[in-house]
């Protein structure tokens, strides 16, 4: 089980003319990822979701908060003692084209981490080779792929190799950061169902980071969905609840932005307009989203709302002074089938 409490990460940069500027990548993010569970984070570019993935996999440090793996606070451990914990959380990168070394074949790509893992498990060479073939089968590739180089594989196949590589060290959790956005839509579903399968069959927990709510919905079924905006979680709850009954205007904007399959779907009657661009540096004492919010009032600019539960549903929380349900999600068109 992985628990994150109040994870905060701030970057301070110095521009030549602009003086010191601070970017709050994460502002007190909390979540619990149970064994075999799924948590999705959705938000647009620059909202801090990639930083979160890096913090979880040990590729980035955090300033404040606690990261607990089975109750052990990783921030309190030395780097050396921390490493075995991070081995249990593996990352699946966004871009399968640059995540694989082009000069090594798939056998080598899987072989290296397997050999490292064997130091702990004592697996023999033969067992390692067997395991590599087994992993390929698990991710839906033929063993013949072992002899291939990344350039001989399609994007979808490469991403499967990346998943297989993550599995070589027997992780308990996978962090998938936009793992399908570089892949053809037709091949995405294959990768998504692979990840779903791993969760169901092997009990691997999934932390899914994306800007695409439709894929989060597919992968995060039965899990929790967090909507993150400029480092702050502004709405969270069971995936289906947040997708079907969002109350925060930002969530509603994200959901409105999903293309409607005309003919098959009807756009939601309250669909919101596309937003102006995000400025991740603008400072405000009030609600972070207020400057872009179509429903902001004077109150919103004054104080920043904290996450509060909806009276009807304790699991569904939001950080909005004026939460209101709006029908922004497309619905199945009438008279289909």
């Amino acid at each position: 089980m992985i628990e994150a409490r109040n994870i905060t990460r701030t970057y301070t940069g110095r521009g030549a003319f602009t003086g010191t500027r601070t970017v709050h990548a994460l502002r007190g993010v909390d979540f619990t990822l149970p064994r075999g569970g799924a948590v999705s984070f959705i938000g647009e570019s620059g909202c801090g979701k990639t930083t979160l993935g890096k913090v979880l996999t040990g590729l980035e440090t955090f300033d404040e908060g606690e990261l607990l793996v089975d109750g052990t606070d990783l921030a309190k451990l030395s780097a050396r003692r921390r490493a075995p914990y991070f081995r249990r959380i593996q990352m699946i990168h966004q871009d399968p084209y640059s995540a694989l070394n082009p000069t090594r074949d798939v056998g080598q790509i899987l072989g290296d981490p397997l050999r490292m893992r064997a130091r702990e498990t004592g697996a023999t060479r033969a067992q390692q080779r067997e395991r590599a073939a087994e992993l390929l089968e698990l991710v839906g590739l033929r063993p013949a792929v072992l002899a291939k180089y990344p350039h001989q594989l399609s994007g979808g196949q490469r991403q499967r190799v990346v998943v297989a590589r993550a599995l070589t060290v027997d992780p308990e959790a996978l962090v998938a950061d936009e793992s399908v956005s570089m892949i053809d839509v037709s091949m995405r579903l294959g990768i998504l169902s692979l990840l779903r399968d791993l969760r169901e069959r092997l009990g691997i927990s999934l932390l899914f980071i994306t800007h695409d709510v439709a894929t989060a919905r597919y992968l995060g079924e039965g899990g929790e969905l967090h909507v993150i905006y400029r480092g702050q979680v502004i709405e969270r709850g069971p995936t289906d609840t947040v997708v079907q009954r969002p109350v925060h205007p930002y969530t509603q904007c994200l959901l409105s932005a999903i293309p409607v399959l005309r003919g098959l779907e009807e756009p939601g009657p309250d669909r919101l307009v596309p937003l102006a661009a995000l400025d991740e540096r603008a400072a405000t004492p009030g609600c972070l989203f207020a400057p872009r919010c179509p429903f902001a009032t004077a109150e919103c600019a004054a104080g920043r709302p904290a996450l509060t539960a909806l009276p009807a549903d304790d699991a569904h929380r939001h950080a909005c002074l004026h939460p209101r349900a709006r029908r922004v999600v497309a619905t199945e068109a009438a008279a289909v089938r």
Partner: protein, 360 residues
């Protein structure tokens, strides 16, 4: 010239203006060590003024090659072997060379390239690149050009002065994509081609860019072609859809109709493989197999048969031709269209006139 395909005068375009671009029987081959391999085979497609056509297909389906041949800009070792691309007021682009071809590109046909976020010159401001564009097209009134670019910027919600004085790294992905559209339209092109306009953009920027494409298309009465692998993107804005697979257009028709009742098994599978926001996510089905590339493409018979649930012996033998199976709808498949599809293929009420959120 004889017209190799039936005229595309479907229900949805009855009485429409003549086509701005007529692609007829276009074949593009790439010369490789395995011989000449066709990336596009005998494709025919019309682009009409006032209509957005969506061209959908997986990587390697030949959609970008088809789009590039509108500019007669297929990169070597590819070349156009048969067919023509007639552009209104210009003639057959495939026969143009040298200076006339260069002039046509940009002034008659505006093209927003794939990954156009990265196609700006990092060493020059956007304004300088605009002037370069003007000079290379021998525009006399450069001030007027800048003014027009400024207007276009404003219409896309960009601050013109800031943008023209910016280098590409100072702009976000969504802004660069919009600048790509500005540069494509600033010479008053009447045909706009966008290759993967929203790849690498997040959902919110994507929605904004699509909204802009829709509004400039409408205001300028353009003939627009949107090339993408994302069914969602095209269905959001396209009036007509053409589905491409293995270098062939396998289905073609009015967008809403085609989405509601796809007739080609590939189209059906493609729609079924889209992760959607409505319905039971458990019902979505991944497409089996891999999309073909030039070397694995079937040389004989139907290109989709290896992944097709309806494959029959005849599919091994002959390549089905694209034909009109019901008014306005075309398909290239040996399997009979389902009778229910035929019966139900009545023109649907248009839901197209609903921009995202109904902008006031």
């Amino acid at each position: 010239m004889t017209d190799p395909t039936p005229h595309h005068d479907g229900a949805a375009t009855a009485g429409a203006r003549p086509a701005e671009v007529e692609i007829r029987d276009l074949t593009v081959v790439y010369r490789t060590e395995h011989g000449d391999l066709p990336a596009v085979s005998h494709a025919s497609l019309d682009l009409r003024a006032g209509e957005i056509t969506g061209l959908v297909g997986e990587s390697g389906s030949g959609k970008s090659t088809l789009a590039l041949s509108l500019l007669n800009a297929v990169p070597a070792p590819g070349r156009i072997t048969t067919g023509s691309v007639e552009v209104a007021g210009v003639g057959d682009v495939t026969r143009l060379t040298g200076r006339r071809l260069r002039r046509t590109r940009g002034s008659a046909l505006g093209y927003v390239f794939q990954a156009s976020q990265n196609s700006l010159n990092p060493l020059k401001t956007v304004g300088k690149q605009l002037l370069d564009l003007g000079r290379s097209h021998e525009v006399e009134d450069l001030r007027g050009l800048v003014r027009r670019a400024g207007d276009l910027c404003e219409r896309m919600g960009l601050d013109a002065d800031r943008v023209l004085d910016s280098y590409q790294h100072e702009l976000s992905g969504g802004m660069r994509q919009r600048i790509g559209i500005v540069l494509a339209l600033v010479l008053n092109a009447e045909v706009l081609v966008l290759d993967e306009p929203t790849t690498a953009l997040d959902m919110i920027s994507q929605a904004a860019v699509l909204d802009i494409v829709r509004s400039v298309h409408r205001e300028n009465g353009l003939a627009t072609l949107v090339v993408t692998h994302d069914m969602g993107v095209v269905s959001e804005i396209a009036d007509r859809l053409a589905v491409m697979y293995g270098g062939r257009i396998v289905e073609h028709g009015p967008a809403g109709e085609l989405l509601r009742r796809p007739s080609h098994p590939y189209t059906r599978a493609l729609i079924g493989a889209t992760a959607r926001i409505v319905g039971d996510p458990g019902l979505a089905r991944a497409l089996p197999g891999q999309p073909p590339d030039l070397t694995t493409l079937a040389r004989r018979g139907c290109v989709f048969r290896d992944r097709c649930p309806l494959a029959m012996p005849v599919c091994e033998e002959s390549d089905p031709a694209l034909s009109e199976w019901t008014p306005g709808r075309f398909r290239a498949c040996h399997a009979e269209p389902a009778p229910a599809d035929r019966a139900a293929a009545v023109p649907a009420p248009r839901t197209q006139d609903d921009p995202i959120g109904g902008r006031p």
